[in-house]
Symmetry: C2
Subunit: 215 residues, 2 copies
Amino acid sequence: MENYDAVVKLIVEALQANLTTDKKDIAEEIPVGISNRHIHLSQADLNQLFGEGYQLTKIKELSQPGQYACKEMVTVCGPNGAIEKVRVLGPVRNKTQVEILEGDCYKLGVTTLTKLSGDLQGTRGITIIGSKGSVQTTEGLIVAQRHIHMTTEDAKHFGVYDGQVVSIQINSLRGGIYNNVVIRANDTSALECHIDTEEANAMKVDSLTKIKLIK
Amino acid sequence: MENYDAVVKLIVEALQANLTTDKKDIAEEIPVGISNRHIHLSQADLNQLFGEGYQLTKIKELSQPGQYACKEMVTVCGPNGAIEKVRVLGPVRNKTQVEILEGDCYKLGVTTLTKLSGDLQGTRGITIIGSKGSVQTTEGLIVAQRHIHMTTEDAKHFGVYDGQVVSIQINSLRGGIYNNVVIRANDTSALECHIDTEEANAMKVDSLTKIKLIK
């Protein structure tokens, strides 16, 4: 028992590191959605990849109203390599957008910008392969910036506004704080914080983890 | 220019989120080492995998004195899948230890504990395939807990002790704070914070990024 004090000290420190939000209001916790790499297609690119007039096949509703995962998958190809089985999300959008992980950049041999979905200015394109053809896009390859979807009502509740940059705190075994999380508030959103699989793995977050918003 | 105030507010917030350590003492910054999945082998397992009396082939010195990357690679196999080209690090150790990424667990079909290197109690084994044979280990599969190597002199400088749990702050575009980082102080270490590739990617850290220790 000669190490008793040292052990107690270590345990207290570990608890302090993990439980700094012990006093948090449970109502402030936000569910988390974890995104793997995926693609949103324009109808023109969908036609090119899967055939003229092709319609996406919904297989699963996503948490954001109107959004869904599709049966269709594509291959994304860069100068150094390809990533197969990249899931298409529906419905079709005005512009094609490919959302990859930071780690995918090495495999593809590209550098990307960290951008909010829909903000494609300055981004590069990539080659996409479907069952009937391929497309070389001129923009739209991004690593998604982490963000929190919410209604304007939620935004009032949390005291934040659409576009505000906040932080999130995660109290897991590998927990911590992510900065530069953007609030996306409108009247068609469900409350959910979106991070990608690398961000989730780095803090050992799963679909049951709740996060806390920090202003 | 009607959005001028809103734009200024957004920029100020983004800067505040990123630059909260503007006043940091530059001498407090710590270099970062990013680890991909890798394996340390016992001589018995090395013999089984590559042939009796096999000696590792050093190809690159690592930052920690006496540690090196080897030419040899193995395949790691779990119930759901295999990961090829896992780099062997030398020299041989008393016990074989396989350090994978959290994301590898899904591919292999296993769950692991987040552990400090060398602390294998309670961990599970895995199948390892070499050029001359395979080994089914009974323990040693871990996701490495992030840690900071330093000398006891460094520890005095930072006001920390071996085994202490601290946090690290990263000021990148996707920056934030990781909690539960363990100090590993002894007289044969070089000052370096070790995180894995998912942790690096999640905060857009590269080998030039400096991190700040937070107690």
